[in-house]
Subunit: 428 residues, 2 copies
Amino acid sequence: MSKPTNKNVTIHIKRLMHNIEQLGKIGLNKDGGIDRVLCSDTDLEARNWISRYWEQVFLKKTRVDPIANLWMDLEGDRNLPAIVMGSHHDAVPCGGRFDGALGVLMATEIVETLKDRRIRLRHPLSLVSFTGEEPNPFNISTVGSKVIAGRLTKEDLHKYSHRETKELLGDAIKRMGGNLDLAENALINKKNVAAFLECHIEQGDKLDKSGLAIATVTKITGIYREKITVSGEANHAGTTMMNSRKDAYLAACEYSLAIEKAVKNLNSDEATATVGFVKVEPNEANIISGKTTLIMDMRISDKVRKAGILHKLDREAAIIEGQRKVTIQREVILDQECIPMSDTVINAFDHGAVCIGEPAAHLVSMAGHDAANISMITRTGMIFVKSVNGKSHCKEELSYPEDIEKAANAMLQALLYLDKELDGNDII
Amino acid sequence: MSKPTNKNVTIHIKRLMHNIEQLGKIGLNKDGGIDRVLCSDTDLEARNWISRYWEQVFLKKTRVDPIANLWMDLEGDRNLPAIVMGSHHDAVPCGGRFDGALGVLMATEIVETLKDRRIRLRHPLSLVSFTGEEPNPFNISTVGSKVIAGRLTKEDLHKYSHRETKELLGDAIKRMGGNLDLAENALINKKNVAAFLECHIEQGDKLDKSGLAIATVTKITGIYREKITVSGEANHAGTTMMNSRKDAYLAACEYSLAIEKAVKNLNSDEATATVGFVKVEPNEANIISGKTTLIMDMRISDKVRKAGILHKLDREAAIIEGQRKVTIQREVILDQECIPMSDTVINAFDHGAVCIGEPAAHLVSMAGHDAANISMITRTGMIFVKSVNGKSHCKEELSYPEDIEKAANAMLQALLYLDKELDGNDII
């Protein structure tokens, strides 16, 4: 019998699924969704579960950085920068068991597998579970990765507070074991990190529709948001004749449909636009709306196409203004560039997929991720695993064990490949 | 010099405008609008002002009925049922000085003029200022007239409370001098009332556009309201492709525009439809709406046309459901019939207009009024006075003194006509 090569090493899917199930009990509500929003009691409970698990398996203390990201740092054979793997453990209200948790637990399973098999890598390895990736009541998502990438200062952080309880973010982070006064110490020195790998559920239905289990992410979409304020004239719903109206809401309806039409006409799977936030004023059944506010969220990686859409919307707004005697004021509130993933890590994931007999499929991530921030400090890449029916951020969120197993084994092979190829034998 | 006939009697416009100005100071806010919502401190202040004025002029105590309507009851020469005139003194938040107040003060001016001229009528006269005609935080409009018309029982009334302070309507009405436990005593005996006359601003722009000062109201429009619930699927704004969406908000936009189109196509000045209330859920920038709720307010007097519109909307809803894979559920929440005014009072107002040299113009009231309730107990009619630019429920609400004077003199002549013609010499 020949000595097994690392190519034969595979993760323990039952253990991984069991861990997903265990962590998925934390925050489980009566409707079957997960409530584990940033700095909630269940966030803390999830942190304690992860820390305890890591400490039991790796016999080392979990490190909590100033923004309360959880870290498990393990030594390598050589004095090299670390390869980091992980994701986040928080969830949207009534969210699913896989978004975030899967990435943390898969990274954990991969390192646990290496430990079981006594495979030591050249690079040190770090596991991470990021603080507050999801939208949350503090109005700041991917906060853990933003801070370590230097995208937020101590001063920025001290401005945030909980929209209902008014608790300061600093106080809440302290409850999670962090300390915002030391936020600058959380910043990662580029020299200490070799690469970051994250597995995440796709959240869309492209893999499900194409019959694929996994795909390598090539880039993370840009997100562009406009706040659109339509101003008309509030007036009596009975006495104001149909032709004398300046109905801000109906103008907003036309504009919302124009946004949809413009983006649909691109006929692209890599372009979306959504009006998800709508505020009608005064919002009374018997008063014509004098003011309606919308937020448009547009995700288009291609800059030329994005400019084309915005140009078309300029014209649509002008037409509606003229026809409905309203004004449409547009303000850019977010303009996040499309983030390409590292070619090195893309190659490693492709290699991993091929190693396990899967095609090296590529996808653009249409959701934002911690990886977008981490890409500013190191070679970063992601692998997506199929979401059944493309559902996420809901209790129906599901990925099958056979797909998760493929993703984990591909990621394990990607890790082994990077460990061999990076630093000293650099392929960049 | 011949003795003046009653046809030469005219009201004192300077006194009336002065009173409008005085009452308009109560609740005047820094933006120039009037805050005098049902059972507010300024509502009470306005009541005190009106009571005091009546008592000083007519040397009689103001009567406050159990729902806190204010009454000034004056004897006639004969033991006949009373002719009642008045309107309401409350206002929508940041409303105008004329809506309601004009009707109370004009009725007052007419009776004060008769008193000055020592003209005694056959009929007793009552002045009334109704409680809570406008939409208010207790969610019950025209409450004063509803109660005296027997449209609300004591039990119904005890269910209402202030949407913010939670104060019970009963406690609030007690602060205004009423007593809901005795609500049934407020009910008017039909035998005791001969007619009800109300002057109100038009609130629309038909008079202003046609260059007329006044018009007789022929009917008060029916109001029909549907709560429309559009159910789609809440989903991620980035990862859900444009063709895989079930966007409840965009379906609601299409339906709202279809409502507008259907009613506009009637090309009628007596048909309106409005979507003034909109609730988008979950209302987050990065989530496609899974549920959007609308309230449609439709005012069409013609039953056949109304049925035609509803039939058209059935088809529109089915088309949108099919194209957007959503469901549109519609629930009738109000279906108030069109209320015709009394022919006797219409004739009296027409006569009044002709007496002062104005054309006997007719209008349908597209807003609801206390007169709609009072029409259930007695011959009821209204006269409209021009609203400059059709504005109402706002600080820009305005009617010119010359138009108000015409309305008051026409109404005075209508009163004299009815006093002569009704009861004993009945023209019905």
